[in-house]
Symmetry: C2
Subunit: 732 residues, 2 copies
């Protein structure tokens, strides 16, 4: 994190974000893009959303294959975006080497973010990204579980290039040949510049006007959608509402998730469930890993009766104890699967692990797949799935179908790699739609317009810092991400990873490779052999306290998800989204906002202190109640039992009593913490848990004069209602 | 290294390598490639080299833009290849998604190798590779400094797909959908299988017939060249002779190269040169790093007179001491360079580091660039160049021109990335061609048909194991590679890296980032501050002894390069090339052959022992003289002062006295080591050092009956002649 204040001029004021201000950049485009005869036509297709059609777009795109409709009403409810933030004159496109090339303007000091689940970079200006679906995103080349051809600008607008192709984005990183460039001093060699933004500032010429070049291979044209602001986060809200609005998980989805060791059988799973209750570890969801099926690579989707003789009975027992069950699987269908023959004609022409690749763009494939899952799993009480391996890999065994594959829907392999995660989610979601149930689950690949899916991304890559950056980045592109706890090198590493995941959309501990909870022993073999560390009860207690904090934050977090659904506002997002005019936030890729009032700065193992940048306003240390003034960077010591959390001055933070699960009455008993002098009301939500519930808003207020608080309820009455048992005032 | 003997059936005998045996695979291709109406026409374009033209190939390809002609005479001198090893019926091609898709057959248990400078994989069967030019090949996806669309098969043939596009190769890794596939047991999960070949054997179905799919984007057709064997190494020889024959370095090129710290000035360089002579460190070439120029990123190509006031004088002094000078540079031309204006019209439409990208496909660009270099450097005595940064990077600063660039020659950026290394070498080579001088240098990118270039690849990636693998792989694809010594974490690491590089085409120690030789201190800062380790003289002595071994091997190595030039036989190559029928060699990616008689098994730091696989025949430990029988794997302890070297039984190994440089008379005084009972004659070469010399062959022979040796000379008499002063017999 580097403060750029001194190095960079302030960007233009928001009020100047209009057509004319950007056309200067268009001049840059004349030479190579002159084939474009007239400015393309621009159309406001939704409130604050414009479409520019260049050339002849392809048939199969994220927009053309979408499941969810645009949340038009919610778009209209947002503040006005004003005029289209980019002039059509400043946008150019032309056919290019068998594909289509687009240029969009960049102003001096305009930064862009997004392009999906990027693990290794934050600011995208200056970088090249090829948006290729890949499970092994070990280099910052654009390979990603969830590449998204959408970026958002500090100048308060977003751009979606509607393609399922592996488009290449050059985000202001390339300079056209120009004889009149002023002579520059001898630049330092690249090695010495790596990673340092002040150097990047010079190298990438952030101070000069530039362009985003995007090449869409194999297309003869493309639709570009522009999302207005004028605030940066409004542009992202519009993108998410255009996608259909954000996902709202069931309340149980916000508790602890625990994935059992993949060798566990039915009795061992039930034993673990009992242990958690006995030892008072909050937990809402248990996940089964591959061992539950008769075939796994590829999958049969059939219960392995050797391990799980009575799945319905087991789920019934778990349900009585308020557990929900989630099943691991992937889509590649083994010849032994009962749906193999039916799926055969609706699958691609290449196999993966000897199994069929269902063409989920086809309704037949979706129906065969969903019907079987409904009958064999969901009807027994299965609450959702972890959809693995729907990305692609050139590395870990070079699995998945080739890009030259053909699918009955007409998609080729490249397109299908982009679509598979989305359309697989459609398929699974359809089961819960028809049952009128909410689900919440995991998926290892996604793409554009993913906001409405109650599926959270995860990865087999393990670097904690990258996991944190992915969480920060996810909010730019309509994605949810869990930095799940798996690998932990030490107890310290376990605690630090657990702290991070507890401040994420899905708080999961995944012990698929060992039998016992990691707090008993982090080392794999010893864990499975039942050799626990001497102080495991102490570590367990630390973990319990942390998990309880997650339970205490559930009402606050649930409300943030309601706003995701209704206003498109990402519950987890980078600081720059809320503070684009504060250049101190531009480089902050290791802190994020959760909901309206909390700023989280996770810590990784071996850090005994860390720097934290606090944007404008006052901020209270959640742990000490001390107030810090904003627009400053602080270096804080970070004791192992605390993850730095700051509460915005003016916030009312409702904290529930920690229950053992979402249905625990404790979760409705609130302590409201009052931060600072001029507090704004906080809004919580009550509902009946159905997919399209009538929401009851519960407004929490604090009267500083009377030094007393109140709850005001608006909407129907639901079974469970929040009550405040205590108010705590922090003056700063 | 894993012995597959037990897991795999033996491949078919060489004698069965013919048309009919491969057509079975063709059946696989029917469905997706049915657009191909008739078998493509096949033509024997050179002796043992066949061309199949599919569709309409592009204009700009490695073959169409080649500098060197086919070495037809040498091709005719090789043993007959017999009939074309692949039937045209078994090859199919069709237009595909805006590109062109080719399928070539693979038999059960047929393995393929090559595809250029791959650092992270060896056997290519089972893998997908996109052959993209990239300086940061940190993942095994095909990104490489020198991707080459050529592979060679254990069945004794090679295939070149003549394209400069980023072609994707699926080497038997994908299976078509087939309902009748026999049910298989539940496969283990991918994580547990990574990297293990017996698992790969099942996963990639090595035992089944398959295909190589190659997709060439943006092309409407492609020429495929097939190189006959029947021996595997003959196929590579034919490929190299088709390229024009291998490079022959000057003798001084085989001595030690030392690149000076980039901050050194003229006096410091001369001081270092004196120090090496005084301390009896053999050294032939000194290299200057960026500091010699007035501008470096981009380059001016102009001497920095602040540091080098009298380059000609300095070179004269170095030359008197038998040093040759090599200059670092890259091609991107700074506005301050005197050739900038002349180059401007012959450059691409995007800049790199503010400099022009010369279009070296155009003779004008080559001439402007070469003339200036000739006048300003070579005329002063500069012996060659290190051509840096001609690859491309998405990562270390995302530099280089975009793939959508346009060049005056008609090439786009993608093609130019493939061509830049080759055509840059053409440009520099042309200087030495017209001066009738040999040169030897370094280049950071190359591609197809590179064998004739006296330029050796290198990398900024530092992993020693990968450096070794690259050396093993380089011989498959007509490339030379130096695992140069740079980064060393410890003295042990330094010694181990030095041992490896001394058994490579170019023995370079590159200390660009520090002032003093690494044997005085490996730690950067301390080194430059003149803080040397207490035992540096001891370490220096160890290094001296190692470097002396390189000098002793020079006559042997020079002869290996003569065979590279005349017969196309790579001087450094994988064991499998010479022993394709010995499945024990198939996985050996950490040992290689140097010349005809030596097998090298480098060791990395922290290894106290290593396994070595010895192929059929007897092998003598170079250090102990002990004999080992072949077709076996041994585990050896590896003392730090020795790199495992084995001499083939039957070899005569001539070793020179160690001189300080190539012109030292010591280098012509030989000790011949006689290994085993039935020795074959060894051939050395004498010449006048000109680019196209008349070679005098010097046949070394040992009469076991008489227990005496002889030298027989054939050809003109040259100034310097080999003489044997001693014969040493090892009986085994």
């Amino acid at each position: 994190m580097i403060n750029l204040e001194s190095a960079m001029r302030r960007p233009n004021q928001l009020s100047r974000r209009r057509f004319a201000s950007l056309t200067a950049c268009g001049a840059l485009l004349e030479a190579p893009l002159s084939a474009q005869p007239a400015p393309p036509e621009i159309q406001e297709v939704h409130h604050g959303v414009w479409r520019i059609r260049l050339g002849s777009p392809e048939q199969l795109t994220p927009v053309s294959t979408r499941k969810y409709s645009v949340a038009d009403e919610a778009l209209r409810a947002l503040p006005s975006a004003g005029a289209c933030p980019i002039s059509p004159d400043a946008i150019a496109g032309r056919a290019s080497r068998g594909g289509y090339l687009v240029s969009l303007p960049l102003e001096p000091n305009e930064l862009v973010y997004g392009l999906g689940l990027q693990l290794q970079s934050f600011i995208q200006r200056g970088l090249k990204k090829m948006l290729r679906v890949n499970a092994d995103a070990k280099m910052d080349t654009g390979d990603s579980h969830a590449p998204v051809p959408f970026y958002v600008s500090t100048r308060g607008y977003g751009v979606l290039i509607d393609t399922a192709r592996y488009a290449t984005f050059y985000c202001g990183s390339k300079a056209r040949k120009a004889r009149k460039r002023p002579a520059t001093a001898n630049s330092p060699a690249p090695d010495s510049m790596a990673g340092l933004l002040p150097a990047a500032y010079r190298r990438y010429r952030f101070g000069e006007p530039s362009e985003v070049l995007a090449e869409v291979p194999r297309a003869a044209g493309v639709d570009i959608y522009i999302f207005g602001g004028p605030a940066m986060r409004l542009a992202v809200q519009r993108y998410n509402l255009f996608a259909g609005g954000g996902a709202l998980p069931p309340r149980w989805g916000l508790g602890l998730w625990y994935r059992c060791g993949s060798t566990l059988n039915q009795d061992e799973v039930l034993g673990l469930a009992r242990e958690f209750r006995e030892r008072r570890i909050p937990c809402d969801v248990l996940g089964l890993e591959p061992g539950w099926q008769t075939q796994t690579y590829s999958c049969s989707f059939v219960w392995n009766k050797g391990r799980f003789a009575d799945p319905a009975g087991m789920i019934g027992k778990l349900s009585n104890d308020h557990y929900w069950l989630n099943l691991w699987e992937h889509a590649y269908t083994h010849p032994n699967s009962p749906i193999y023959d039916a799926l055969f004609p609706f699958a691609g022409d290449y196999e993966v692990w000897g199994g069929l690749v269902p063409d989920f763009l086809q309704p037949e494939a979706r129906q065969i797949f969903a019907d079987f899952h409904d009958r064999e799993h969901v009807s027994l009480g299965v609450s959702g799935y972890k959809l693995d391996e729907c990305d692609n890999s050139d590395l870990t065994g070079n699995w998945s179908f080739p890009e030259v594959s053909a699918f009955p829907s007409g998609a080729d392999g490249e397109q299908m790699h982009s679509f598979l995660g989305l359309r697989y989610q459609d398929t699974i979601q359809s089961i819960f739609d028809r049952r009128k149930m909410r689900t919440y689950g995991l998926v290892r690949s996604s793409h554009a317009l993913a906001a409405p899916y109650p599926f959270v991304l995860y990865s087999d890559l393990y670097d904690h810092k990258e996991y944190i950056r992915a969480l920060v980045n996810s909010g730019f592109s309509g994605l949810l991400w869990t930095p799940e706890v798996r690998d932990a090198r030490s107890t310290e590493d376990l605690i630090r990873r657990l702290q991070t995941v507890l401040f994420s959309p899905l708080a999961q501990v995944d012990t698929w490779y060992m039998k016992n909870p990691p707090w008993k022993q982090v080392e794999r073999k010893a864990n499975s052999a039942g050799q626990f560390t001497a102080n495991w009860q102490e570590v367990e207690a630390q973990c319990r306290t942390l998990i309880e904090l997650r339970m205490r934050l559930a009402p606050y977090l649930y409300a943030a998800f309601v706003r995701y659904r209704e206003q498109g506002l990402p519950p987890f997002r980078a600081l720059v989204l809320d503070y684009p005019d504060d250049s101190g936030t531009w480089t902050v890729d290791d802190q994020f906002l959760m909901g309206e009032s909390l700023l989280i700065a996770p810590v990784t193992a071996e850090q005994s202190q860390r720097t934290v940048y606090l944007p404008e306003g006052g901020w209270f240390d959640f742990w000490t109640g001390n107030m810090y003034s904003g627009k400053k960077q602080y270096t804080l010591s970070v004791p192992l039992d605390q993850i730095p959390v700051f509460v915005k001055s003016g916030a009312l933070l409702p904290l529930a009593d920690p229950g053992l699960h979402a249905e625990d009455v404790a979760g409705w008993q609130l302590t409201v913490q009052v931060y600072g002098a001029n507090t704004k009301p906080a809004v919580l939500y009550e509902d009946d848990g159905s997919p399209n519930p009538q929401m009851t808003s519960v407004t929490v207020n604090w009267d500083h004069g009377k030094r007393s608080g109140s709850l005001a309820r608006s909407g129907p009455t639901h079974d469970k209602q929040y009550a405040v048992k205590k108010w705590q005032v922090f003056q700063g």
